[in-house]
Symmetry: C4
Subunit: 345 residues, 4 copies
């Protein structure tokens, strides 16, 4: 029997992924406190469903930066889908397209920006890790623009790599373990992915000079930084702690969301990334101010179990759960979801 929820995919996927890659996918930093908090924080939020509202027709459609998607559930940027399936990001992109939603493509994908764009049926955003050589970053962004990506996501929570102890013990190196496709082009002077970044708010300004694509910042966890982002005019903020893989002990994503939503007050779009496993989690995130959420590891679980179809099934399951949750909470449209839908214990 097919899994009936996202969580059931986890052990099935583990049986199919090599141990060190599985640790890389699943692990968090240090004691994995934040990794666990991303989930447990949802349990301290109660839903306050409303009744006797005609919810026979559920409409999950929305737009993100103007791009229509069929539901407020998008695929988070994640490195190296190839550990899950040989078709890697191309399979994931096709799944996203089938479900008419957006995929964010990682700088460190195993397929090139262009290969993914070619097979994607839905909108794409490009996630950027900057390079110490700005020309490398510029080139990546311009390739994304040329390939039809709709926005650039600058990851701001990774000035250095978090202490992922599973990877340290496994001596796991992403670059050595698989082909980082976007760094294989025959550009003599800067072919290599580099981790050494010194991004500042000036990087944001510089990015504006390189591309006209909308700009999102991923990894903001405080109202203070959200306000700075709004002042810089970014189009979107992704509230995220990098799946618990960077600073251990930092706020759970859903814990940080309320103060950010209040500070931003509608001046840019806000998305949540971190710990979503259930349709009711999506509902909670939307109630607390997210326009849409990103789903990460479960997509890789689906991909590992059944390739494109598995990734697609993950999206289908979560969509179905969201529809049920919207129906049962008296919110047939996303517009009806607001802060009064939740009570934080």
């Amino acid at each position: 029997m097919k899994p009936v929820n996202l969580i059931e995919y986890e052990p099935l996927a583990q049986a199919r992924v090599e141990a060190d890659a599985w640790d890389y996918y699943q692990g968090g930093s240090d004691d994995e406190v934040t990794l666990r908090a991303n989930r447990s924080a949802f349990e301290r939020i109660r839903l306050r469903p409303r009744v006797l509202i005609d919810a026979s027709k559920i409409d999950t459609r929305t737009t993100v930066l103007g791009a229509p998607i069929s539901m407020p559930i998008m695929i988070a940027p994640m490195a190296c889908h190839v550990f899950a399936h040989p078709e890697a990001e191309c399979a994931t992109a096709r799944a996203a397209g089938q479900e008419e939603t957006l995929m964010a493509v990682s700088t460190v994908a195993n397929r090139t920006i262009e290969e993914i764009a070619e097979v994607a049926g839905g909108p794409l955003w490009f996630q950027l890790y900057t390079n110490e050589n700005p020309r490398v970053s510029e080139r990546l962004v311009q390739r994304a623009d040329a390939a039809g990506y709709r926005a650039v996501i600058l990851t701001v929570d990774t000035p250095r790599l978090g202490r992922r102890e599973r990877d340290i013990r496994n001596q796991f190196k992403l670059e050595a373990r698989s082909l980082l496709a976007n760094f294989q082009e025959a550009v003599a002077d800067e072919p290599t992915f580099s981790r050494h970044v010194t991004d500042t708010w000036e990087t944001v300004d510089w990015l504006r000079t390189v591309t006209k694509l909308p700009l999102l910042l991923k990894g903001i966890l405080t109202a203070e930084d959200a306000l700075l982002a709004v002042e810089r005019g970014v189009e979107g903020i992704i509230v995220s702690n990098h799946g618990g893989r960077q600073l251990d002990g930092s706020l759970a994503a859903i814990e940080a969301l309320p103060e950010i939503a209040e500070a931003v007050a509608g001046r840019c779009e806000i998305y949540l990334d971190g710990g979503v496993r259930r349709g009711t989690d999506v509902l909670k995130a939307l109630a607390l101010g997210a326009r849409a959420i990103f789903i990460g590891r479960p997509i890789l679980w689906g991909l590992a179990v059944d390739g494109q179809e598995g990734a697609r099934h993950i999206l289908q399951l979560l969509r179905n759960e969201l529809e049920v949750a919207m129906g049962l909470s008296g919110c047939p449209t996303l517009a009806g979801i607001n802060r009064s839908l939740v009570k934080i214990l």
Copy 2:
């Protein structure tokens, strides 16, 4: 030795009920967070007993919508008692009658409205799931009225079925698994139970045109909806999350009760349904504003273990526990129970 409390009935019942039906009875939706919360929320409420009050004579009698019952403990509407015992709802109704309390009869019972009425010794309320064909609903209500039921309970938390994963895995279908007695009559055009409902507040108004019976709404969890219900003039509100079977993550019933009691401020009767297993739970619910409570699954446990006598024993045990709790808290009558009896941690 006979069980000394409700909880001891649970494993005894499990041994007597078929596995898929047991899952149907016991299960909640999704991760069963709300199912568990219905119980655990009671543990965060402390009792503040008063002393040196003559409680040698305990009086548990009360009325619900004017109907006298011997105690503020009623039988919740539940589908398909036949999985527990061949005499099904008729056994339950006789047990309720013996203990002089009220039974709420489900639309999806295994015995007809009329059959149950015939054997019931206590007052009955009819729980309505509306049908996409309003004539079916109308007919059910009118049959209930004709059979002497005292009120109609409109379930408002089930615009669609919750995601009960045990049932999904078991491929459990209520309609296929047993006879839904109220849908067997020889009416050519609408013989079938349908899940597809689009109830709104207009449904409430429409029901008023169909019957003069008092009307209760079951499944309200917010002060906002309680106020709307009061404005519509309903006679009663049943605070319930459908035993944790509909929207997972929603408030525990006892968590929702205080805000509803405060909002309603006595303008209609309020009952609690969800998680009651002890006489002290009844006391806590009454202190927080309920006029009476409904007991659900334990009745089916008693029924499974010993038919009518088992269901009756459940009621007797809970009555006895309530009497002891009233005696030990200095509340010989229900009128003496108020908010100062509890402290929420």
Copy 3:
């Protein structure tokens, strides 16, 4: 090696006491929620020790209702010490005397009021369960007075027995299981212990007409009742939930203490009974307003393990722990202990 703390006595005692009597000693009512809360509530209280105060000489002496005792630790009234040791209450009373503290003697002791008084070296208080025949109660109180008891404790939390399910399952009956010594005298008309009591505040007034002994109420858990007690002029209040044996779900004793101490504001003495196992627990209770505490079950553990010497060792261990705790918190005398010593989490 001798046990180093009270807790280590528990398994040793269990091995020496018959199973049904052990259950009677150890058990609480219903789900034993309050029994556990009596302990766990202490863990939510943090100590705020003060430093650089000369605490080389610790003075634990105090008085209770004017009677000097060597430490603010007294023996709670408990039924039937004979299950622990054949010398029963006489052994306990000698142990209390050796440690120069007070013992409260239960109505349902296995030795008579007079026998215990004969061997006791310290002050005694008499705990009274009233009888449906007031002459029986009167006779008990007058015997206590004649035998030199210093006060009467009226237990007010037992208008009926709590639902102790261990005893129900064991079909345990105190009266049948051992000799209730105080009800063996050759008074033709009222020789029997009765449970049927209807105590009210009038009982308190009536007791005043029967004896000039100071009067304490045991089993108060609310500020409201503490105020009523003060108005009636009682000399002392024992904050207690009867060791978790009466109303399950009621406040832990230490949880109830602050509101009672605030309400009483010094107008009578307050003692705590419930869950004390450590010297730091005594300190917390005193900081929150108790003048002294009662220790219950551990005395029976000591008695079971080593008779009089075991009970005495329990007192010695707890005294030693209290002295260490006073020394380490900068409170060489009891007078220095106040509310600022604790922080409730």
Copy 4:
């Protein structure tokens, strides 16, 4: 493979240390509630990392009482390093020197004040347990001064020893188990370490007359005592509960820090000692007002596993974790760390 964090050293060390000495190192008092709270309290503090700050160059350097150290991580005073390694405190001191940080040397070291000073590469502070004979205390302090120690730490939380039950069961006596080096000199009249102390605030004044070294108080847990310390003009406060070894149930060190930092308001330096195991713990302590932290037991673990190199590795691991944490939280210098970096749940 070498351990990747401090925690991994714990079982390795246990295999190398004799059982009774291990219990001495690891144990806390009574139920070890405070021992555990020292760790668990950190988990209730969330980090609020800031982004887009150039943190490519991390500077962990600071000063403590004017002495430069390479990082805000110092070695806590601990008795008898010899149980971990035969080179005892000399190995530890060399490790501290290699990592350019400070070591606090215990009165009850296994190497003399002078031996340790001879090999130490970094600054030293001398921790003083006073003696009932003030001349012994005076002599110790003057030896420390002569040997180049930079300050005296007066431990104020040990007017008597905490009830460490592991040691009671093991009949463990520090003096009998190893050589307390500082008490071996041929001074006829006071050669013996004594536990009997009666320190008061006058002891602080007296110490001033004995030495011109800066003075710190170790073991303060309340704002009240911190204010008294400031009034006495102490140069520093070490917030500590003695590793959970003195008054069980007292505040966790990190729980006490905020009220102390607020009360002191910069008038002396504040350090935290207790429960630090992670670089993020250091960050939390600094955010809540500590200038630097002390690390205790893990140093002994490192020492047990690999002598000087092991102790040094502990410091290196924690330094590296701190650098990563500073980088990931947008705090390249210690000056940038403040209260807004944390949220206490």
